[in-house]
């Protein structure tokens, strides 16, 4: 089975709301995670990463939370905007080769 997976295939929110996208992983040894954003017709783009020695990391309007106990991470987007509409992937590049393994992605739809 895949090593990372997102809980929901689609998340619909209203503009201005906060969005939370969840991801579970199975490898207890994973020590680094990346969130990517993929807009329609484009390749994935790095958003934010987090290492296992951290519980939380903040970027511009985005926060990633890591719960190693239950092997779960989440991406929180504050004040969601229409431009945030995209598919979001969590990736685990912690394998021996550091090549990311991608989950299926969650499609975030922002309604104006």
């Amino acid at each position: 089975g895949e090593s990372v997976g997102l809980h929901l295939p689609t998340l619909s929110v209203q503009e201005g709301d906060n969005s939370i996208i969840n991801c579970a992983y199975s490898n207890s040894a994973s020590d680094y995670f990346i969130w990517y954003k993929q807009e329609s017709g484009k390749g994935p783009q790095f958003i934010i990463d987090i290492r296992s020695n951290m519980d939380k990391r903040q970027g511009q309007r985005v926060t990633v939370l890591l719960n190693k106990t239950v092997k779960h991470l989440s991406l929180q987007i504050a004040a969601t905007q229409p431009g945030d509409s995209a598919v979001y992937f969590c990736a685990d590049p912690s394998g021996g080769s550091y090549i990311p393994t991608f989950g299926r992605g969650t499609s975030l739809i922002v309604h104006p």
Binding site: E2, D31, Y32, G41, K42, G43, P44, Q45, F46, D49, R51, F89, P93, S94, S97, Y98, I99, P100, F102, G103, R104, G105
Partner: protein, 114 residues
């Protein structure tokens, strides 16, 4: 322009034909990757390359061939295309393999095999 580019952006081919997808990066990154993206499967690694003339299989290599004679180019060839290879293909590059190196993706090639 600097960055990572793919060509063609769209391709329709027939079953059994050979088709080559091109990938070019201007950063002189050591590592390059090919992924395919299908509904319900996310991104799956086909092949990757650590340097010129060094390539290795990923998760789904069957039916694909790669080469890397120059650092900046990493073409992907489907020697005899099948309908199951209809997909969106993404090339990516990265300066190194340590976790902190960001991986940059190209815009993708949408391939349809009829």
């Amino acid at each position: 322009d600097a960055g990572i580019t793919q060509s063609p952006r769209y391709k329709i081919t027939e079953t059994g034909r050979q088709v080559t997808l091109m990938c070019h990066q201007t950063w002189s990154h050591s590592y390059m990757f090919w992924y395919r993206q299908d509904l319900g499967h996310g991104l799956r690694l086909i092949y990757y390359s650590a340097a010129a003339d060094i390539t290795d299989k990923g998760e789904v290599p069957d039916g694909y061939v790669v080469s890397r004679s120059k650092t900046e180019n990493f073409p992907l060839t489907l020697e005899s295309a099948t309908r199951s290879q209809t997909s969106v293909y993404f090339c990516a590059s990265r300066a190194g393999l340590a976790g902190y190196y960001e991986q940059y993706f190209g815009p993708g090639t949408r391939l349809t095999v009829t």
